[in-house]
């Protein structure tokens, strides 16, 4: 009994146990077994897929960024420029223009939710809000499906940087986003006691915790225990270094932009390298009911352009872009008609999202809007379709079915269809 109380310093109990199991399995065998295990780990790492969602809270005007209508009544003052791909984008996205051969613009998004909360939920889950079922968000779904590719991951597989993302729904709180600020600072990480004592506390806690769980008082209690286990893992994990974005060289930090979003994108790259399956980085401030053009030109677009371009190029240079899917979107877009305050209001009927990496064919625009930007021309796509396509890029089968807690089977991405032309 007492040996449970003394584990080597700096190791979580689970970690310690796995070492013990490994040690006994290898008794009497040669070192070559260890070598082949390492090779296996490298293979796993190589096929490891990840996703980075750049979430534009507030609903960015895609007509001023990715699908310009210069010279029309609705078009606004921005000009379109050519890019490294076969598409044109806003003149205020010059760095991204050099990366567009990696990215595809889906210009034929058409959705129905033009309220922030409903739109955010819908774009994150593929479902409209439903009083009776809590649907899991992208991050929770992807983390849940891809966790087996990263058996050694000790930090959360779903991290939300500088924003809230959406919850894990019926998958339970152990799949909730791990929220950090864009500087990667994790609060309350400093342990106040040594690991021996922490383990003793853990045993006391588990004793109280387990007897209460056995009393059949609801599933939330089991989730609480799982989250506690993950929290213990974090406290002792060397992988937490991935959050220390400060350790990056100055020129790298400057490449991404020394603002919250820039550093958040850099953090996302570090987390993907460390094995995190899904990272969401938030950039708010797109709810431009007034003075939209000044805000975009002087404030939002320079920040976005620099960070997104640096992230794309950096992932490519490190050989990670092939296995990392980048998604850029907000809850909806903004009215083509410019309102009396030189702003644009909410518009979900015709807009764009941008995707790239993970085998997606870049340098192209899929679908189109009509001349004044109010309607989609040709086949419209939805949140479900984007989600299905991203899952496909990550190697997740679209036949995957979840069973909600009440036994209702649900297809992944709400049975969304692949967006035609995204994959070669």
């Amino acid at each position: 009994m007492w040996n449970r109380f003394t584990t080597p310093n700096g190791m979580s109990r689970r970690h310690f146990m796995s070492h013990m199991a490994g040690a006994s399995a290898m008794l009497g065998t040669s070192l070559s077994l260890g070598h082949s295990l390492r090779v296996h780990a490298d293979t796993l790492k190589k096929n490891r897929k990840s996703c980075i969602l750049l979430w534009m809270g507030g609903g960015p005007s895609t007509m001023d960024i990715w699908d310009l209508k210069p010279g029309t009544d609705n078009g606004g003052p921005f000009k379109a420029i050519s890019t490294s791909g076969d598409v044109q984008i806003s003149e205020h996205m010059p760095m991204m223009a050099q990366q567009m051969h990696h990215m595809a613009i889906v210009r034929s998004m058409s959705t129905r939710e033009a309220d922030h909360n409903r739109g955010r939920y819908y774009m994150h889950t593929g479902y409209v809000p439903d009083a009776n079922v809590d649907y899991p968000s992208y991050g929770a779904v992807v983390a849940h499906e891809l966790i087996s590719q990263r058996p050694d991951l000790e930090i959360p597989p779903f991290v939300a940087v500088g924003g809230a993302s959406e919850g894990p729904g019926f998958l339970g709180m152990s799949w909730a986003p791990f929220n950090v600020t864009s500087n990667g600072r994790v609060r309350n990480l400093e342990m106040s006691v040594d690991s021996d004592r922490l383990n003793q506390r853990r045993i006391a806690l588990e004793t109280i915790e387990n007897s209460f769980i056995s009393q059949n008082r609801g599933g939330v209690l089991e989730d609480h225990r799982k989250v506690l286990g993950k929290t213990f893992d974090l406290l002792t994990s060397k992988q937490m270094e991935a959050f220390q974005v400060d350790k990056e060289p100055t020129d790298v930090k400057e490449r991404y932009g020394t603002n919250g979003f820039g550093q958040g994108c850099l953090l996302a790259r570090r987390l993907v390298e460390a094995g995190v399956a899904f990272v969401e980085v938030d950039l708010g401030g797109w709810d431009n009911h007034q003075n939209i053009f000044r805000t975009l030109e002087n404030d939002r677009l320079p920040v976005l352009d620099k960070a997104m371009a640096a992230l794309t190029a950096d992932l490519q240079e490190r050989g990670l872009l092939e296995d990392t899917c980048i998604v850029w979107m907000g809850e909806f877009s903004r009215t083509p008609r410019i309102n009396g305050d030189a702003g644009r209001d909410h518009w979900a009927r015709a807009w764009s999202v941008v995707v790239g990496g993970g085998g997606i064919k870049g340098g192209q625009a899929i679908g189109a809007t009509n001349d004044d930007g109010t309607e989609v021309v040709g086949e419209p796509y939805t949140s479900e379709d984007v989600m299905a396509s991203v899952c496909h890029a990550l190697g997740i089968s679209l036949e995957t079915t979840f069973t909600s807690r009440n036994g209702r089977p649900m297809k992944i991405a709400n049975s969304g269809k692949l967006i035609k032309g995204l994959f070669a």
Binding site: E113, A131, N132, N188, G218, L221
Partner: protein
Amino acid sequence: MMQTSKTQTTNFFAGAWTFLALVLGVLGFHQASAQEESAKVSRRVTLPPQTEKIDKAIEASWQDAGIRPSAVEEDLKWCRRVFLDVIGRIPSFDEMSVFMKDKSPDRKLNLLRRLLDEDQYTEEYANHWSTIWANILIGRNGGMEERSLTNRQGMQKYLRDSFANNKPYNTMVHELVTATGSTKPGAENFNGATNFLAMKVNEENAVQATAAVSKIFLGLQVQCTQCHNHPFNQWKQQKFWEFNAFFRQTRALRRFVRGTDDIDHIELINEDFAGEGSHPEKAEIYYTLRNGIAKVAYPVFVDGTAIGKSGYVSEVNRRSELGNLMMESDFLDKTIVNRMWAHFLGYGFTKPIDDLGPHNPVVNIDLFESLAKDFRENSYDLKQLIVWITLSKPYQLSSKMTKDNESDDPSMGELPKFSHFYTRQMTAEQLYASLAIATQANRKGNLEEQQRRREEWMRQFVVAFGTDEGDETTTFNGSIPQGLMMFNGDLIRAAISLEPGTWLNQLSTGKGTPQEKVQFLFIAGLGRKPRPEELTVAAQILAARKGEVGGMLQDMWWAILNSNEFIFNH
């Protein structure tokens, strides 16, 4: 001026652990089980007719659904629930003793009367409900944003005073909807109620005021209909703008610090509205259909009642008219009854609770409507409503599910049947106040300093969404950041501190055996004695600490505070 809280001077132990055996006796642990006790007692209890009505309706619904309720929970557990839900924290050791010593059949009612009517709890009651309502009215982050027009202190002062005086709910709503004056305490014409609308009227033609007032007080979700008729909602775009027209005389004026351009506070006023066609005698507004056609709208209430079209405040004060029309609406009654029911039972009659539209299913609809009517007929007295609900059968049931009611799980998407208590996590505010009462931590400084520290602590959990509407969520939701805070955060460090003068220090250096002290910890935190396996762990930890009782108590208290049994209301 409210009086200083008694809890500040309540000594959690009152020297109790030196009489531990006696106290355990008082709490019923050495006698017949508390459950038998409560069964014996409950037969003679007199209940308000509304409570009997609730019991009858809910029991009938169990029969219809073919399920059987869980057992009635032990009285001491009910006591913990009531403290958490009514005044926002767990009971102290003393308070548990007082409750258990009361052998009257009406001891539950007696406890409610103490919490609701006695001066020593007035401030905690008012603080608890003003926190809840400030979060509803202006959000968790309201007033803390840069260049905010909201004065959170002003909002809270208004709410605290309202709840301390048990202001009738309808009066409170009328005041919030029609308020004029300054947002900041101490400013000329101070009226804290103005903070509700201060940031919701100037921009986007007051659509935020429209959405907030209809959702919070009438349970009508109209925000989507601003731009188009919504397929899932009976509200049409026309109705949205007719409701919106009530707010168009209202302006939030910036008042500056003398001689600077720093905003000192906001003054909410009504001024003549010329209308968008510049005919103040018939001040119309326009909105655009999705097909581009412009339509006109004048103030018309949700039930179709139109008021005068004049934009002159002296002829028609639109917000005043709105306030009066709201007072007549039964949506007003239903929305608050639903909100309060959900507060105590975990789920409302509808889900979400602030959507009473015809598209949304309602459970126990007859009971719901009848309670709403009772509430109106009893002068919108929130304290009475609290008594009706907390004495009712569904609120007294155990959270332990049985084979006969496992299917009643609203977290699985089932409609709630209230056949057992739904386990739920404490809010961050409840945790903070509970730790304060259980450990005497964070009691330094005057009331204002304590409140400031509390708000600072709360802010770590708020995550904003980056929209103009100030949407936000909390990470105090059972996820890892919360776990880390409970493991290592300052609040927990203070709670388990052994510094001289702390309560844990007093416990560890006071009389009693280590085992008695552990027993005390379990009763203080969880309202029950430790189980044998828990005492065994404590003994092992004591050995690992080489007999140092203080260190062992620290570890056990840390484990108790981190346990599900502590952080959940069950």
